[in-house]
């Protein structure tokens, strides 16, 4: 028996998912998160999980975890005091940003505070030009004064980012060496190590984020890894935001990559489930208490983007608006909207019904949870309409106050619109569904992908309640609800390959570059990749190197990422890059311009250590079969007496038609009329439009 364990540390709960490698059998545990010392919750969850499955620590072969510590450090401004060193004349690069205001019209807005305050930002005389040539040599005589300033500032870490260091890193490297020598114990991050890519603000910002969260991440990982090793578990791994796990050393080299750790794990789990079910196009939909996230998986590949702001409000639209701190590391391409079970419904001055962006969170929570919430939420609407159990949830542990939900819905929404609480709840669900549909559209339609060709994979605490309604909205005919949807992200952690990414700006015309020159660039990166995989003791047969390139028409400013052929590059391979780009441009924007020169901006390499594949499966317990009915409202049918089925007791190959509600410990699935559900041998629910 060999088991893999994934731990997803969320805001409210720490989820533990365990999978047995040979059989794919799943075990789960859910315990409260312990923010003062995360290790406490993690150990409690691990103990619960191991005990339930009767597994010893020595049977565990892999332990991965997802953390929100990097995001929280930025949101709560808890990072380390750090200093910045820039090119003479450019110390304000972090503060001037792209000179954009967050909002067009909000009088009370302010940009987010710069994570390195101005008094800790220094300059040194040096300059490299746009061709990578030194035009002003580094003035090393300024170093002693710089060292004294950094010492006086109390900085624990230093971010160094010079202009054009992605073309010529010599000055940065020299300053790095001199500072390390003069400032023992102070960690130095160089932009040419962290992110050798064009655009000085984004590069400096990524480097600054690393410096800011580095020390906190280090103490957190040290504490947590010694705690789990203390109970005999294997080395702790961390989920990176690009959809692979990394070891602790790599995570600390580039702390910014741990930013979207948890959400990335959910997408990975969806990709694995898609592969197991033989689905080549999957839209993943993850809805929790405060946000809903969507992502696409095509032919088993998750999509990543290098445009991301951490701690901002912008990622819903994939439009960077300056509300957060940009990092240019690969992040799973998610569209996120502020819609979750806790989103509050309200009516504005003009009489329009709004849902969110404010959330009741876990405290006070929805009115129906009876923890002091008095504002009607999406969860309250779901209780009123009969989607959620009107008596209790979590197998009886959470009592539901339906009357309270009705009263709040009536007072806060119904009265203003002249509607009953039930009518108001119907509209609340319709509005929140429309908001979430936008997230699904952003990752599909906006990328030129037709959602009707996809299967919707729904998970998260609330995902399966809304998923089929969203599918209808988008004209999709197939929805899958995996086993254990409520802890699905933790499940993703145990199926994630070891992964590390390298990138380099080359900024060359594709036509002007020889295959040999490009090959030489990849060879250098591939040597680094193999070194990492050897270091992590990945057996040779499980090593994989993936080449990609960011390419654009020469006069455009944004790139599309395309795959680069494997093996020794030749003229045909160069042609294949061009063809792939024209095709992707046509698919994304509706036109291609084959006469226009193509520019190679960044080249990328991912080194992967592949895990043996798994098959997810849920035990079925016919003894648990239960069936009852309750009144449930559906958009076209109105209120109907609807069957409610307990999921653990549904036999394999069972088939039933909507309307139906499927309940389990961790999630509820709503099946409207017109849809039929088939349960497969592994416990997946397959819903299809009849």
């Amino acid at each position: 028996m060999a088991w893999r364990i994934g731990v997803d540390i969320g805001g409210t709960f720490t989820d533990v998912a365990m999978v047995e490698e040979e059989t794919g059998r799943i075990g789960i545990a859910k315990v409260p998160t312990t923010p003062l010392d995360f290790a406490e919750g993690v150990l409690a969850g691990l103990a619960q999980g191991l005990e339930r499955q009767g597994v010893g620590a020595d049977a565990v072969t892999l332990l991965s975890h997802a953390t929100t510590i990097v995001t929280n450090a930025l949101l709560e401004k808890k990072g380390a005091p750090c200093a910045f060193v820039g090119t003479r004349g450019h110390r304000d690069v972090l503060e001037l940003r792209r000179s954009v205001r967050i909002d067009l019209y909000d009088l009370e807005q302010d940009p987010p505070p710069v994570i390195i305050p101005r008094q800790n930002r220094f300059e040194i005389t040096e300059r490299v030009d746009a061709q990578g040539d030194v035009v002003t040599p580094l003035d090393e005589s300024e170093i002693p004064a710089l060292v004294a300033q950094i010492k006086a500032s109390g900085a624990q870490t230093v971010a160094v980012s010079f202009l054009f260091s992605f073309l010529n890193p010599a000055h940065e490297q020299r300053v790095g060496a001199l500072l390390r020598e003069a400032l023992p114990g102070v960690q130095i991050f160089l932009s040419s190590d962290v992110l050798p890519e064009i655009r000085e603000f984004e590069r400096a910002s990524t480097t600054a984020v690393c410096a800011y969260v580095g020390p906190l991440l280090e103490s957190y990982l040290t504490r947590l890894s010694s705690a789990v090793e203390g109970i005999g578990l294997p080395e702790l791994h961390v989920m990176g935001s690009s959809g692979g796990v990394v070891d602790i050393a790599e995570c600390l080299r580039m702390p910014a990559q741990a930013v979207e750790s948890g959400p990335a794990a959910g997408v990975i789990a969806a990709a694995l489930a898609g592969e197991q079910l033989g689905l080549d196009r999957v839209l993943s939909f993850d809805m929790g208490g405060t946000t809903a996230k969507a992502s696409v998986i095509v032919d088993g590949e998750i999509q990543v983007t290098a445009e991301y702001e951490v701690g901002g409000t912008s990622n819903a639209k994939r439009w960077l608006n300056g509300s957060g701190h940009p990092i240019r590391v690969p992040v799973v391409d998610l569209a996120e909207v502020s819609s979750g079970g806790g989103s509050i419904a309200w009516v504005d001055l003009g009489g329009a019904l709004k849902v969110g962006p404010h959330s009741a969170g876990s405290l006070p929570g929805p009115v129906a949870y009876g923890r002091g919430g008095d504002k009607p939420t999406v969860t309250d609407a779901n209780v009123i309409l009969g989607y959620l159990n009107p008596v209790s949830l979590l197998d009886g542990e959470l009592k539901i106050n339906r009357e309270g939900a009705v009263r709040a819905m009536e007072a806060e929404v119904g009265a203003a619109l002249g509607l009953s609480a039930h009518e108001a709840a119907q509209r609340v669900v319709q509005v929140v569904n429309a908001n979430m549909t936008q997230a699904l559209r952003i990752v599909s339609v906006e990328r030129g992908l037709d959602p009707t060709e996809f299967t919707l994979m729904a998970f998260g605490g609330a995902g399966a309640i809304h998923a089929i309604f969203l599918a209808e909205e988008l004209g999709m005919t197939s929805v899958v609800v995996p086993p254990a949807p409520g802890v699905f992200s933790a499940l993703g952690l145990v199926t994630t390959n070891l992964k590390r990414d390298w990138s380099k700006t080359v900024y060359a015309d594709l036509a002007g570059m020889t295959p040999q020159a490009l090959q030489a660039e990849y060879t250098t990166m591939e040597a680094d990749g193999l070194k990492m995989l050897e270091g992590a003791k990945v057996p040779e047969a499980r090593r994989r190197l993936v080449r990609q390139a960011d390419v654009r028409y020469r006069r455009q400013a944004y790139e599309l990422t395309v795959n680069v052929p494997e093996g020794e590059l030749n003229d045909a391979a160069m042609e294949a890059i061009a063809t792939a780009f024209h095709e992707k441009h046509r698919q994304t924007y509706g036109h291609a311009n084959e006469a226009e020169p193509i520019q190679l901006v960044n080249i990328r390499l991912s080194a992967l250590g592949l895990l043996p594949s798994l098959r997810l499966s849920m035990d079925i317990d016919p003894a648990a079969a239960r069936r009852e009915t309750r009144p449930v409202w559906f958009p076209e049918a109105g209120e109907v007496d609807c069957p409610v089925i307990w999921r653990d007791g549904i036999a394999a190959d069972a088939e039933f038609a909507g309307p139906a509600i499927v309940e389990s410990l961790d999630a509820t699935t709503v099946v409207p009329p017109g849809w039929t559900v088939k349960v497969d041998a592994d416990g997946f629910l397959h819903a299809r439009r009849a």
Partner: protein, 578 residues
């Protein structure tokens, strides 16, 4: 909550459907923006975002605006309306182009591309993308010449059909491209504008298919009514009354023979608010000026609308569309500098006059309803253009950049440093992209200390950007306001620092330049361009000493300026430190 006595604009439409369709239209306008940024060729569009996208009704009302530039709010509907007038019977697959400031355009470089949307043969409305082309012909690269008639400012296009059956009319396109610099780059930008419009048309068609054409059109009307109701409610929230302010504008770019400097001129505003309506009357403003600082009324109105939106809707709850402006009337005598008539030149006025006008509106509103408006801001677009031949490859180049200064201090907060005025929201162009694209080196890009007006709440800082011209001589054009008239403070707050433009020749000679105009910048010369800081709010004596301490630590305020401008707080800090 909807406790007001006006008719409900959404009556008869399902509450959920209204919200869904409204958001879908806004989302479509956002998608247009993304498509344009990702496919355009010129750095001004792809990096700096100098454009706006919108969805319009069949009569040319703006129904949804993307997250773009407030300045285009007021004048884009006029641009679409003039297309509607010229082509009253649009056909599917047609696209129109138009940049005429005397028919709803703003200035010649702002090129509108308009595409009608149909479903089952019925007209739904239009998509429109207004994008600033870095060049539209005329006397100088970048089309920012200090000329005295619009004919010298570049190619002027009345509403013209440029696509038929979804394909470009090559006659028209050739004609346009023959009149602009770097034509193949312009063609790429034009294609990007059409691609963005296609997105709008697709989205509108899908909504009509889903909800029915009649229902979509009814909801589009209701969205306009909804904004109107919200704006009227906001107007009722401020006292009735009249306020007047006369401001000085710092020249039109023309230095007449015998004059030492560009001459200033006056803009006067009388603002009258009664019940749920407001009138802005510019009677008493100076007549047209010789150079391109003349604002067509549509540009004047844009500055007014943007300022009203900020002041009356500080939490940004009212969807910005044409309905919001129904309770607002903007008037000015024909032929005056804020209601320019053909053939007055207009290029600078588009951003300079509308920025200054927004400050004038804020100043009047402050008298009427204190505590709702910011102090004076930078009042300028802060434009710098270099043009010439790139020594590295022999290509002709035109750069166009904006440098952002101080945003006015607010009733409860300091001003913002180095962001746009309330009428814009363009991005800077990254230094590395600039230097890769053009033969210049940016030697400094920093916040300028002591440029924010002193006050209980300090004004936002101005910014200094210094370019070195590399390899060959260049033509340089600048356009910046407030070189003489600083941004005003409010409630006892002090003025911000003025703009300064200096050319340092290779031999070290320093030449102070006017804010607006063109000059030769020899190889290896330095252009030092400092944009204005903004005004402070409240008396400096009331500044929290801790806020001053933070400003001193950051270097926003120097000790000398602190001793001079904030003696009380500075004294407290000194005692605490002693």
């Amino acid at each position: 909550m909807a406790g007001f006595d006006t008719p409900n604009p959404t009556a008869g439409i399902d509450a959920a459907r209204f919200e869904v369709v409204k958001n879908a239209l806004i989302s479509a306008a956002e998608e247009m923006k993304i498509v344009l940024a990702k496919t355009a060729y010129s750095p001004l569009l792809k990096m700096a975002g100098d454009y706006s996208c919108g969805i319009f009704s069949a009569t040319g009302d703006m129904v949804a605006q993307g997250p773009d530039l407030p300045i285009h709010l007021g004048s884009m509907p006029d641009a679409v309306r003039s297309v509607v007038q010229t082509f009253p019977e649009p056909v599917e697959g047609e696209v129109y182009i138009h940049n005429d400031p005397y028919h709803g355009g703003s200035h010649l470089p702002d090129v509108n591309v308009v595409m009608p949307a149909f479903y089952e043969g019925r007209l739904l409305g239009y998509g429109c993308v207004r994008a600033h082309w870095p060049d539209i012909g005329g006397g100088a690269p970048g089309s920012y010449s200090a000329v005295t008639e619009i004919y010298g400012e570049g190619l002027r296009m009345p509403p013209t059909r440029i696509y038929v059956d979804g394909k470009p009319d090559e006659n028209i396109e050739r004609f346009i491209l023959a009149n602009v610099r770097a034509p193949s780059e312009r063609q790429g930008d034009l294609r990007a504008q059409v691609a963005a419009n296609r997105r709008a048309v697709d989205r509108m068609g899908a909504l009509a298919k889903k909800y029915g054409t009649d229902e979509l059109l009814r909801i589009m009307d209701a969205i306009l009514d909804y904004s109107e109701v919200m704006m009227r409610a906001a107007l009722r929230g401020i006292p009735d009354g009249t306020a007047r302010f006369v401001d000085t504008i710092d020249g039109d770019g023309i230095v007449e023979p015998g004059e030492a400097h560009d001459q200033t001129f006056k803009v006067a505003l009388t603002l009258t608010k009664t019940g749920d309506e407001i009138t802005l009357d510019f009677e008493g403003s100076d007549p047209r000026v010789k150079g391109p600082m003349n604002a067509p009324l549509t540009v004047t109105a844009s500055g007014c609308f943007a300022a009203l939106k900020w002041a009356l809707d500080p939490k940004a709850l009212i969807p910005p569309n044409s309905g919001a402006w129904r309770p607002v009337t903007v008037t000015a005598p024909k032929g005056c500098v804020v209601n320019a008539q053909e053939p007055a030149p207009v290029t600078y006025a588009n951003h300079e006059m509308s920025a200054r006008i927004s400050d004038i509106v804020f100043r009047c509103l402050h008298d009427l309803a204190p505590g709702r408006t910011p102090a004076g801001s930078q009042g300028t677009g802060g434009v710098t253009i270099f043009g010439g031949q790139d020594y590295r490859n022999g290509n002709t180049y035109i750069s166009y950049e904006v440098t952002k200064g101080g945003f006015g201090a607010r009733p409860m907060m300091d001003g913002m440093n180095g962001v746009s005025t309330c009428i814009g929201n363009m991005l800077n162009t990254p230094v590395e992209i600039m230097e890769m694209s053009f033969p210049v080196r940016i030697e400094e890009y920093t916040l300028a200390a002591d440029t924010g007006g002193a006050g209980k709440y300090r004004g936002g800082l101005g910014v200094r950007r210094i370019w070195r011209v590399l390899g060959a001589d260049a033509n340089c054009a600048t356009c910046v306001e407030r070189t003489m008239t600083p941004a005003f403070g409010l409630d006892g707050g002090r003025e911000g620092a003025c703009a300064e433009v200096t050319l340092v020749l290779p031999d070290g000679t320093r030449e102070r330049k006017e804010g607006k105009g063109g000059f030769a910048a020899p190889k290896d010369s330095l252009l030092i361009f400092q944009v204005p800081g903004s005004g402070g709010y409240g008396r400096p004596a009331e500044r929290d000493p801790e806020a001053l301490r933070a400003d001193l630590a950051a270097g926003y305020v120097t000790p000398e300026a602190a001793a001079r401008d904030y003696p009380e707080a500075f004294e407290i800090l000194n005692q605490a430190g002693a």
